[in-house]
């Protein structure tokens, strides 16, 4: 019997799946204005600050952070792979262009070519309200729709924000994540470069997402963007970030700091589709403040990287604030996804949900690590934590490390956790209906993650499903 012809989608999937290298992992010639030598010291930090012509307070902040970084030991929890990060083998600053341009035509041709291949300008035209594109250490392109600009929405790269809105940046910078919060936040604070600054004025709703795309290109590169979003009273913004890098045999490091401030009645949704190549350590600190009646949602999808350690958190500081963390982690061969989230209820009638889903295959390891804290006085707080893990084979591993601290009696807190394997019965049932084994396996995985992918904007949900399906290729047998 002739093999049935593959559908266009299947052919496309197979094409994309040829390898990550083809679609995201390609590398072009290096053509930089400046590339710092490997290693970190005071001179490098001063040079970064000098390049950016920063005010003295920021230079002092960086140098103090460097002292914290050098004084702190490497964390010993999380993952044994963490010990193999070699901080001396990283380039801490690489400059690809003079400034963040507002037209793609002004971006250096080879850099623009990279973003064209990744489809960023096309996505901008179709469904985004603004785009920031970071290449190595700095943002090379930044644009926001004119109508939003007229309403007072600020969407700039962080370096420009420091120049153009110094007072606003200084008021909030490092108030959510201090330089001394943890070793990696100290590192970011010392060498930060790029990232986004978003300010949404009171009552303004940004209906289409703002997107940032982060690209590492150099081997042994360190990317340390710094992002801050301030949603003023009653405003709404959805920020989406994506990231990829070429595949190299030696390691790169990505260590971002992201601070969100939702003022009374505001809502911030922050979506990440992390798809770094498998030679990138992804060690990120993300934290949000939610004031009264505000909502902060983290939608955190981790597919790539060698090791990810990331636990987005929400501090519910005002009455009736709401926090939501939706997390998907996919760990394939050689990967460890140590993800999760933290919610701190610090005021009465605050509510939260954490939904975490992980899939491990081919010896990959995923961990859910979470904290739910209800402070004394946070009466009538309500929270639900659900973490589900799916193991696709005997070699893979899943761990759950939930911490729950309750300092108040009058609360309603629930925690559920499941670990399951793709069942023979489920597979058999689907196969009995004529669905090939591999297809059946994909269907089960899609159903497993659907509660989270349905929260993504359609274009990202399609992409996410494709990426998951690609990761699933050849997982049976």
């Amino acid at each position: 019997m002739a093999t049935p012809e593959k559908t266009a989608e299947q052919r496309a999937l197979q094409g994309i799946n040829a390898d990550y290298k083809e679609r995201f992992g390609f590398h072009d010639a290096e053509n930089y204005l400046y590339k710092a030598p490997k290693g970190l010291n005071r001179e490098i930090v001063e040079k970064i600050s000098e390049f950016k012509s920063e005010p003295q307070w920021m230079r002092d902040f960086r140098l103090k952070a460097l002292d914290h970084f050098l004084a702190r030991p490497m964390p010993t929890w999380g993952s044994p792979i963490l010990a193999s990060v070699n901080f001396d083998d990283i380039h801490y600053f690489v400059r690809a262009s003079e400034r963040a341009e507002r037209s793609w035509d002004e971006v250096p041709a080879d850099v623009k070519k990279t973003f064209d291949r990744l489809g960023i300008p096309e996505a901008e035209r179709k469904f985004l309200a603004g785009v920031g594109a970071q290449y190595e250490s700095e943002v090379v392109y930044h644009q926001v729709r004119e109508d939003l600009e007229k309403q007072g929405v600020q969407f700039l790269d962080m370096d420009s924000a420091l120049r153009e809105h110094e007072d606003l940046v200084r008021e909030y910078f490092a108030t959510v994540i201090p330089a001394n919060d943890n070793k990696l936040a100290s590192l970011n604070s010392a060498v930060w470069s790029g990232g986004s600054f978003v300010y949404v004025p009171p009552g303004v709703h940004v209906e289409m997402p703002l997107q940032a795309y982060f690209r590492i290109h150099t081997e042994n590169m360190g990317q340390f963007e710094r992002t801050m979003i301030i949603a003023d009273e009653g405003s709404y913004v959805h920020y989406v970030e994506g990231c990829t890098a070429p595949t190299y045999s030696s390691d790169s490091l990505h260590s971002a700091v992201v601070e969100l401030i939702a003022k009374p009645g505001a809502r911030i949704r922050y979506t990440t589709v992390q798809n770094w190549s498998q030679n990138v350590f992804n060690l990120v600190t993300k934290r949000a403040i939610a004031q009264e009646h505000s909502t902060v949602e983290w939608v955190d999808c981790n597919l790539g990287s060698k090791l990810t350690m990331k636990y987005p958190s929400v501090y519910l500081l005002g009455e009736e604030a709401h926090g939501e963390i939706l997390s998907i982690a996919f760990a394939g061969h050689g990967q460890h996804q140590d993800a999760g989230g933290k919610i701190i209820h610090a005021a009465p009638r605050t509510t939260s949900n954490i939904f975490a889903k992980s899939i491990s295959k081919d010896g990959g390891r995923s961990s859910y690590r979470g904290l739910l804290e209800v402070a004394k006085g946070a009466t009538e707080a309500r929270s639900k934590v659900v973490c589900d893990a799916l193991l696709l084979d005997e070699d893979s591993r899943s761990d759950t490390y939930p911490t729950i601290r309750i300092g108040e009696d009058d609360v309603d807190v629930g925690h559920e956790a499941t670990v399951s394997k793709i069942g023979e019965e489920q597979l058999f049932y689907l196969q009995a209906h004529g669905i090939p084994e591999e297809e059946a396996s994909k269907l089960i995985v899609n159903g497993f993650i659907e509660p989270i992918t349905k929260e993504l904007p359609m274009e990202y949900a399609v992409e996410m499903n494709r990426l998951i399906e690609l990761q699933m290729e050849g997982s049976i047998g």
Binding site: A174, P178, L317
Partner: protein, 112 residues
């Protein structure tokens, strides 16, 4: 001006003003309490010496005399020395403050 002292409270002598110049910090132990006393540009202020986030010793932190804040050396939370409130995360619960008076040349602290 000296603050009014609570008649139920106990007043303890800390040190002569000359021993705690502007920018100075001093740890005072009283019963099971540890109290950090600071001189912010001539104003003497006292707070509980225990960060509400992770019990960090605030007296070993960095004092900002202009802002009248101290930064916890452990994770970087900054506390307002007048109110005891954290003005940066990760701490979110205020620490206790203690009334201070200067009687003659002696700094005195009111504890309960």
């Amino acid at each position: 001006m000296a603050a009014t002292l609570n008649s139920m409270a106990e007043v303890i002598d800390i040190c002569p003003v000359s021993e705690l110049p502007p920018g100075g910090m001093r740890l005072v132990e009283w019963e099971d309490l540890e109290i950090a006393v600071f001189n912010c540009n001539g104003e003497i202020l006292a707070i509980e010496d225990r960060c509400s986030h992770d019990n960090g010793p605030l007296v070993e932190g960095e004092l900002d005399q202009d802002e009248c804040t101290v930064e916890c050396p452990r994770h970087g939370s900054r506390f307002d020395l007048h109110t005891g409130k954290p003005i940066t995360l990760p701490a979110y619960v205020p620490v206790e403050t203690f009334p201070v008076t200067v009687d003659g040349d002696i700094i005195k602290l009111e504890v309960e």
